[in-house]
Amino acid sequence: MSVGIVMLVHTALGRAEQVARHWHAAGCPVVIHIDASVPGKTHDAFVSALADLPDITFCRRHRCEWGTWGIVAATQDASQQMLSEFPEVTHVYLASGSCLPLRPVQELIDYLKARPRTDFIESATTADVPWTVGGLDHERFTLRFPFSWRKHRYLFDKYVELQRKIGFKRRIPDGLVPHMGSQWWCLTRRTLSAILQDPKRPAYDRYFKRVWIPDECYFQTLARLYALNIESRSLTLSKFDFQGKPHIFYDDHLQLLRRSDCFVARKIWAHADRLYRAFLTDSEGAMNRTEPNPGKIDRIFAKAVERRTRGRPGLYMQSRFPNEGWENGKTAGQYSVFQGFAELFENFAPWLARATGTRVHGHLFAPERAEFADRQSVVNGALSDNAVLRDYNPRAFLGSLIWNTRGERQCFSLGPRDNQAINWDIAKDPNAQISVISGAWAVPLFQSNRDFADIRKEAALLQKIESDFLDVLHSPYVKARIRIWTMAEFIESPMEPLQTIIDEITQKTTRRLSEAPHMADLSGFGQFLQNLKNQGMHPHLMGDFPVTQGAMPRNGQSPKPYLVR
């Protein structure tokens, strides 16, 4: 009993020679197919370099372009030659020039010896595999593909479209159920010879010649007709990226490959000297391992695909700049925006920080500077509080802040005095929690000592700006968690809404707030609003405040905080 190796090579022939010698040294006969596009000189040098080994032969050459019939034809010829020239061969292992045996070849031989009737070939029906490139699964068996997918993508796509439109369908030969799977298999002599000597083979070949990427389905489909016992997996460790190209292994994968316990890996970078040295020379393998276990490698490559296709949420950088709607998370984490709270409550920021343990900034978009927590002038990521820098690209400013402080929730105030450029961004961001007490901007005006004409003008402006913001928050495109109260509504029972907001931030509902923030003294606020009205400016955002005293539920110069039982 022995294992025959069919090797398809097209580049890095030096490495292919090394690997062929390695197989041969373990007593495996090797049949090599050299791609017809390899230049004559290189070909001759390669053949003569291996001339000293008796059990290495070369088969008829085909041109093996990706996704074409040539690869299947090459495999057929080489397998045929293997079966007829080496009658002692019981299993045929299909490998490429960039495959590298990771475990001593004897272990592979023993493994196959223990499973004499098993065919190792990944073979799944089209309905069950998610990894088809180009969105073609079953259609690759029923359409025609005269144009190259790599070189003439446009024609390829158009022709597929056309065939779909006119309802063209090829007939699948009777008895065949299309299966697909990894190109790299290991078949028993029984199964392989049955496939190659089938009287219907010319018909099958004719059919598969026009199938797209036949090397992933020819043997996979036909093996189902003859095999007694199919293990639907490949003994070759081979990972694919999101475009269907194989991942490449480098020197720094040495430990990973060692621990994978796989028999063969592809594909190996031709200059990965350490890998070739380690796996082709040392015999550190006598550890009696049994089943291959590529779990960790799977995870690493799955993560790479995920990174390439989904990316890190909230990251904007030189090689990731998603179009609107494709951000997969507009920002890197959740944050809270408060409008009107810092105006209505005197100590809102420190109170909120204590109650939630989050980082509470002031007005980040204030006209003077970004009011970072603790009056810092620079925060995480060396983000500056300079208003000009911030206003140059407010979206980037907010995105950077949230990205730089990943893992720590940010809270900040917004108001009609601030830069309004990010309103739509936060409104459409599912990570944002926006709470608004409308009309609270009037409190600082009420407390200020300015000329009433000024106040009236400013009030009109601020009301207009806040009203625009509320329009944004009421739009159907909003994705943020939004709560809006008029000021009159809010001060009626402030603890309830505060509790809701804080529960949402801390994700807990058990703890009751024991301490309330100080509310500003609002005695006379009703009259103040009436004065504005009398001047012809109609403040409507704060709700209904009676003109007389008593709009405030309490009196006195030093109001006590609420105590909630």
């Binding site: 790479a304 990316g311 030189q318 090689s319 300079n386 820098l389 950077s400």
Partner: protein, 336 residues
């Protein structure tokens, strides 16, 4: 992008190429060893002026990375760097006394040399104070990267400029020839960058970092661009438009993903801010050979006299490429 705009960009590219061909007369070969360039070699192109002190480490860094040949244009140096470079076996050197500014800051010269010698090669275009890092650069040579890019049919590779600076006055620690400049300038800004899309050329326009934070805080729109595409599988029909910020044809500028994913990218560690900088800034101010009427240098000169410390509490100390990838400044993409 309509046909008319495509056509205009095509004309623009042709004009740049024509300009480059015309400007070739300004270059005088000092040592031309380009006959030694073998097919598949990775080439590095650079312009330099009085950088003798930086060159030993610069050459070593890129040799170790696996660059096969250096093609350098010297702009009228007086510090012995010409002799030094002429002695290096893997350097081809040209020299010119002509205006750096009028060759569009060296781009015309390099476009010509690339057209002539780089067709079909992977080319890296960097200044002597820029150090290229890419994913896995500590364990894989640059050929691993270019082979992977070839296999993935990617023709251009982005590496954002990351300004490095020392802690304290930038002139506190003198730089010695041969020394790793990152030993001194080992700090950077990790998260204060602004990105916009350039509609015409399709590239991203990145600004920010310490230069925006300190020198350009009152006029951020004039802060220098940090987006760079230094590694390109060159074709003689390609042309750099402005420094290595963008190229034509514009498909080469599409180094970023727009559908949520991350493409692979690297970084150029920019070690401009060493003690040599103060002298250089003064000199360049006199020569007036830099971008936008040397605006950058004027700003530096005035700021640096006041408070020459770029370091702040939130500066990040450089460790390795993995740190940059975690911070989101570069990405492995789907290279694993």
């Amino acid at each position: 992008m309509g046909a008319w705009q495509s056509y205009r960009l095509r004309l623009k590219r042709r004009r740049f190429l024509f300009r480059a061909i015309r400007k070739r007369r300004e270059l005088r070969p000092v040592t031309n060893r380009t006959k030694r360039i073998k097919p598949g070699d990775i080439l590095l192109f650079s312009t330099q002026r009085n950088e003798a002190i930086r060159l030993p480490y610069f050459l070593k860094y890129y040799r170790d990375m696996g660059v096969n040949h250096f093609l350098i244009v010297d702009n009228d140096s007086t510090d012995g760097s010409v002799d030094y470079l002429a002695d290096q076996k893997d350097v081809s050197l040209w020299t010119t006394p002509r205006s750096y500014k009028r060759s569009r800051f060296g781009v015309d010269w390099l476009n010509w040399l690339q057209m002539r010698y780089a067709h079909g090669h992977w080319t890296l275009v960097v200044d002597p104070d820029e150090f290229f890092v890419y994913p896995f650069c500590d364990t894989r040579p640059i050929r691993a990267l270019t082979d992977w890019l070839d296999a993935s049919s990617i023709k251009s590779f982005s590496a954002m400029l990351l300004d490095m600076y020392p802690k304290g006055r930038i002139d506190a620690q003198p730089y010695r020839a041969g020394q790793d400049p990152l030993e001194i300038a080992s700090w950077f800004d990790s998260g204060n960058y602004s990105i916009q899309k350039n509609g015409l050329f399709g590239n991203l326009w990145i600004q920010g970092g310490p230069r925006s934070r300190v020198f350009f805080k009152d006029m951020p729109e004039r802060a220098p661009a940090l987006n760079k595409i230094p590694l390109v599988k060159w074709n003689r029909r390609y042309a750099y438009v402005s420094s290595t910020h963008m190229l034509l044809p514009r498909g080469l500028n599409q180094v970023y993903d727009e559908w949520g994913g991350e493409k692979a990218s690297g970084a150029l560690l920019h070690t401009k801010f060493l003690d040599t900088f103060t002298v250089k800034a003064m000199e360049e101010l006199k020569r007036k050979q830099h971008y936008a009427a040397s605006m950058e240098y004027r700003t530096y000169a005035s700021q640096l006299q006041k408070d020459p410390d770029l370091w702040c509490k939130w500066s990040e100390k450089y460790i390795n490429w993995r740190q940059l990838e975690i911070l989101g400044l570069m990405s492995k993409g789907n290279w694993a």
